[in-house]
Symmetry: C2
Subunit: 377 residues, 2 copies
């Protein structure tokens, strides 16, 4: 097998004057250093966190196609207000793709790099939306015999995020969880983890089909946020589970505040004494995603003992340290085809990923729909 | 001096069907146990936290007067939505008044109670809106020679809250503070503490007069939230101070989120590398008051490393333990006439406190305006 000299990769650029440009760049494949390998990337998930970097808060209703059939270019306007938060990336051509999987086609001299040669590996390291990625062997996880790149593509972000939620629950002294957008790939993983570990989980979804999916997977508590009885249903589930910690993928709108309100109502149902400041049990919602980019709004009818905040995988992994992270990763490797299985609704080539019709689909962040990029398709 | 048999006190009752009733109740003065004293209360501040219990979220535009001149009664409607959060107090006649000061006119047999006889003391213990309050000697702090009850009335809640903010800042690893409604009694105290301790403080106010008051008191950073350049002014002050912790008395509206947005903008000004998740420095806003009871709203344009939450004095004191609290109280006692001085814009009798015209004034929570209740006026 001969290695090509160059690799094609997706680039995202937001200019200072507010224009997003997506394109395919061809660049030389970096020769691996002793501790590095070259992975031929065959599967990389298009997660919300990737799309955030890819689209740079552009208004995709303004997206226009240009370029050629083999080198498509997409441009779109970035709203003025959003530019401010991206000051650090303006006028820089960004590589995209947190994670992916493929075959190691070249390796540096070190034993750990050589050991991976020919293996199918999953890798976490950014810039994975490329045909060939030169990366440290330490950032790769060999897949088990017979596992495909597609099966290993999402071996890091979603599995570690789901495990991170459970770990956060334990470390912060809660005993049950609430999760929104709960029918997502990540939500289904979390549901499987909680069933295995005996952790009560309250799943919040927005569609009847999503309720059915989760119930079919054995979920005991599923609340539909569009139901007229949602607040009561959620309160009942919170009384039953005692959950005082939620992870919210939505971010915008009223849901995060509604969860706190229902947690407080659930706690007050068992309170023995009135406190003008509300329940003294800490109630927490971590917003880890932004499926709704609109404003977050809440009425503080849940006492004074509450918190809302951002939650992100990488700082969490830093907090628990290499040993803690290694434990989580070992569990993922052992259960990749079961607990941590992902599914995708489309497999796209690099060119297809820059097609306006495809973008219109995969940029929707529809729960249960996820595209898999295959840069070598 | 002979002690009367009964004491008149303010009561607040919210009925299950949504009516607030304020009245004066006459009840027997409890004889002091060995460790207790009886305080003739001559000054008790009407703080926002007291008014929350007093008015029970009633809509004061519906307030009506009844009763007699010496035993006035005020009734008002409590909105249905607010009733839920008060389930624990419905149909109970609540005593009011977190703190106050007065003269010890009787004492139990124990040496610590006897030692307070005849002394002017400040006390924290609830139910202080009464003419005579039987209370544990341990809950009283003797004032220095020559200090009046009015001078000692606010010796606990505001001073300990202001010191608690500074202590929270130190314990959570921040090096400067932001404070809203900063021209309040509490805000002026915080300003004096920060000047003394060399802590950079960014004061946020809403009126030109309030800016002037604070600048007159030596405040270096004062931002007016109604100014068209507010966001820029605040960002500049945050760059200058490095503040990543705010205490917000307002609660409702967009201010809490604007503070986080400006903190992020300030951090990004000195960032050397772009992170799609925003600055990795934790940014925190604690909401400790609810001057604006409306919804809190924010656009999450400040990355993923942020928190918002409730902050309350009593859980904080529990967290730092008796020794920590004693240290803070000793500082208050030593600096009561200077750092922790309060001022009031009206002195009300019990009857006046239930007068609709007075209520219309003191229920406004106007910054810099505060009523002092004198149950023995």
């Amino acid at each position: 097998m001969t290695l090509p000299a160059t690799t094609l990769q997706i680039r995202s650029l937001v200019s200072r004057d507010g224009q997003l440009t997506l394109s395919l760049a061809e660049e030389a494949i970096a020769q691996p250093a002793a501790h590095e390998v070259i992975v031929r990337v065959e599967a990389a998930p298009m997660n919300p966190s990737d799309l955030g970097l890819l689209f740079g808060a552009a208004d995709l209703r303004t997206a226009k196609a240009s370029g050629t059939a083999s080198r498509p270019v997409v441009t779109a306007d970035v709203p003025e207000a959003a530019l401010k938060s991206m000051a650090g990336r303006l006028d820089q051509s960004m590589q995209v793709g947190n994670e992916g999987a493929g075959v190691v086609v070249a390796a540096g001299a070190s034993p750990e790099a050589q050991a991976l040669l020919g293996k199918t590996v999953a890798a976490l390291g950014g810039a994975m939306y490329t045909q060939y990625r030169t990366i440290a062997a330490a950032q790769c996880m060999p897949l088990a015999e017979g596992q495909t790149p597609a099966e290993g593509a999402s071996a890091f972000v979603n599995p570690l995020t789901a495990l991170g939620m459970v770990e956060t629950m334990r470390r912060e002294g809660h005993k049950a969880l609430v999760h929104t957008a709960a029918a997502s790939n990540l939500g289904q993983m979390l549901n499987r983890i909680c069933l295995q570990d005996g952790i009560p989980l309250v799943n919040i979804v927005r569609k009847k089909e999503q309720e059915d999916i989760l119930r079919g997977l054995g979920a005991k508590y599923v609340c539909n946020a569009t139901s007229p009885t949602f607040m009561q249903d959620l309160t009942d589930a919170l009384v039953a589970t005692g959950a005082t910690l939620a992870f919210d993928a939505i971010g915008g709108g009223k849901l995060a505040g509604q969860i706190l309100t229902c947690m407080e109502a659930a706690l007050n149902k068992t309170a023995t004494e009135y406190s003008r400041y509300g329940s003294s049990t800490h109630k927490q919602v971590y917003i880890y995603g932004g499926l709704d980019r609109g404003p977050t709004e809440f009425t503080r009818g849940f006492g004074m003992t509450w918190g809302m905040g951002g939650w992100l995988l990488f700082p969490f992994l830093q907090k628990i340290g290499p040993e803690g992270a290694a434990k989580l990763k070992a569990r993922v490797a052992a259960e990749l085809k079961t607990t941590f299985a992902s599914h995708y609704t489309a497999e796209l080539s690099l060119v297809e990923a820059l097609d306006l019709a495809q973008i219109a689909v995969y940029s929707r962040h529809a729960t249960g729909e996820k595209a898999l990029l295959n840069p070598n398709k």
